[in-house]
């Protein structure tokens, strides 16, 4: 692939890492403002923030300053070291996800060969941080929330990975850029003008992926780990100020990253119909296309979040093990058969 700029490896890496570090807080700002504040307010017939800046768009800056000013409180019985490490582990899992997310032919921090597999692996690290937070808080509600989160995230990680398998089989690669390319060069019954977005051939996988992602992100209707009405906030009940902000940022940063993964795997990623896949212009236009697709998918995630009530714990587990996993396995078998026959 031709590179836009020819820089030494360490300079290129430093620039890319700096960009990724700047992108993550920005993504959570966008999602929280656009969906959590504005869309939720419209859907529930309230005003939402409207005083701070035009249409309340500076509300989040004010919130961040508020969080930074708060006192750093540890519960007296808490295990201080683990208590402090927990939000960092959760946020690190989010940061690691952004390493492989592509926004153009060269606009990616590191085009890992194991792309999707790596993304699934690092996203599972957040469970560790949540368990640490729940245990170290020395609080029964926090521990219950942590355990619920662990049970839920383990159960829904399986359908998530199995749904991705269908896409991987069809694209014949784990590499995210390879998956974009496979969609861009694909054809639907000989018609290749819009490529072959895998949402058409892998619609079942897309549905399973989105449901499992909703659960992985602990968004309603799968928000038992943080259920305010039963657990008063779950694993982060004892966290205040900046440490709470880290959990909050990780939640929405991960939501953005999962939307990006869905956009890459099912909606064709950064490719624009009519362009060559290796066209340098896509490095400039790609991020815009990706952002539009990510916001579309995030819109659906938050739409469901604001619409449905919470499930029961046993319903949640049954749904994962008895419905989603068999469906995902059937999808893999079907994809395999079609791959061999056609």
């Amino acid at each position: 692939m031709t590179s836009l700029l020819a820089l030494p490896y360490w300079q290129e890496t430093a620039i890319k890492l700096g960009l990724a570090l700047a992108v993550i807080p920005a993504t959570s700002l966008i999602l929280v403002y656009l969906f959590l504040f504005k869309m939720m307010a419209f859907m529930q017939s309230r005003l939402g923030p409207n005083d701070t800046g035009p249409y309340g768009s500076l509300q989040l800056i004010a919130e961040a300053i508020k969080f930074l000013q708060k006192e750093d409180i540890h519960p007296a019985q808490a295990d201080r070291r683990v208590f402090r490490m927990a939000p960092v582990v959760v946020l690190a899992s989010t940061f690691l996800l952004y390493v492989v997310l592509p926004a153009g032919p060269d606009a990616v921090v590191q085009n890992l060969d194991t792309g999707v597999f790596y993304a699934m692996a690092v996203s599972s690290l957040s469970v560790l941080g949540i368990l640490m937070a729940g245990w170290a808080s020395a609080n029964k509600y926090a521990l219950l929330g942590g355990l619920r989160a662990a049970g839920q995230l383990i159960a829904y990680e399986l359908p998530l990975i199995l749904a991705v398998m269908g896409v991987v089989v069809q694209a014949e690669t784990l590499n995210l850029q390879g998956i974009v390319e496979a969609q861009a060069t694909g054809e639907i019954f000989g018609f290749g003008a819009i490529g072959n977005p895998f949402i058409l051939t892998q619609f079942l996988a897309f549905l399973i992926f989105m449901i499992a992602a909703q659960a992985e992100l602990t968004q309603t209707p799968f928000d038992m780990p943080v259920a305010e009405t039963e657990l008063v906030g779950g694993f982060h009940v004892e966290y205040t100020g900046f440490r709470f902000l880290l959990f909050f940022m990780a939640e929405f940063g991960t939501a953005f990253a999962f939307s990006a993964l869905a956009a890459v795997m099912f909606l064709g990623g950064w490719w624009i119909p009519g362009f060559d896949v290796h066209d340098n212009v896509l490095n400039i236009l790609g991020p815009g296309v990706m952002l539009a697709k990510i916001l579309l998918i995030a819109f659906f995630i938050f739409w469901i979040r604001f619409t449905y009530p919470r499930l029961r714990e046993d319903q949640l587990q049954k749904f994962a093990w008895k419905v989603l996993i068999p469906l995902a396995l059937a999808n893999i078998v079907l994809t395999g058969i079609f791959k061999v026959v056609f």
Binding site: F117, L131, W135
Partner: protein, 164 residues
């Protein structure tokens, strides 16, 4: 190669210290977290050996699944905060002897087999596709044997856990 050597030193130090702290700490959750550090360090070493797929699998399977289940089990049953004095059993000298023995045999066999051979650094890079080609052709029988073994263990666990 200098950068690789420096990082090898740092990662090995983290792994060794975490391993030692894991068996000497008096808090069971801390022990599990030190084990996470050991496993993560091993994953980093795989990356230094350009075994990207193995490193990712290490993170997904050991840290994302096995250690989470460990912690889940510990916290579901008994996970007191603070230090517990009766953490070390009376058989620890025997366990230490076994550990030293296994370590010694491993180090001896590696030195005996490879001696002063150097790792080829400019050879072909093994991609994920190469790994799967090898697993599903050359090593298909060991692979299937491990699958059957794991299935047997799984069924055994279900039989043991069921009360009826």
């Amino acid at each position: 190669m200098v950068a690789q050597n420096i990082f090898f030193g740092i990662i090995t130090a983290i792994v060794v210290i975490s391993a030692l702290r894991m068996v000497t700490t008096r808090n069971i959750v801390h022990a599990a977290l030190y084990l996470v550090a050991v496993l993560a360090g091993l994953g980093a070493l795989y990356i230094l050996l350009t075994a990207e797929f193995v490193a990712t699998t290490q993170v997904l399977v050991y840290i994302g699944a096995v250690m989470v289940l460990f912690l889940f089990g510990i916290m579901l049953t008994k996970a007191p905060l603070g230090n517990v004095m009766k953490m070390t059993g009376t058989q620890w000298p025997i366990a230490a002897g076994v550990a030293v023995l296994i370590g010694g045999v491993t180090v001896y066999s590696v030195i005996d087999r490879f001696g002063s051979d150097r790792l080829v650094t400019d050879g072909p890079i093994f991609r994920t596709a190469d790994v799967s080609d090898e697993v599903f052709s050359t090593y298909i029988i060991p692979f299937e044997a491990i699958s059957v073994l794991l299935l047997a263990a799984l069924i055994g666990a279900i039989v043991l856990a069921r009360k009826d």
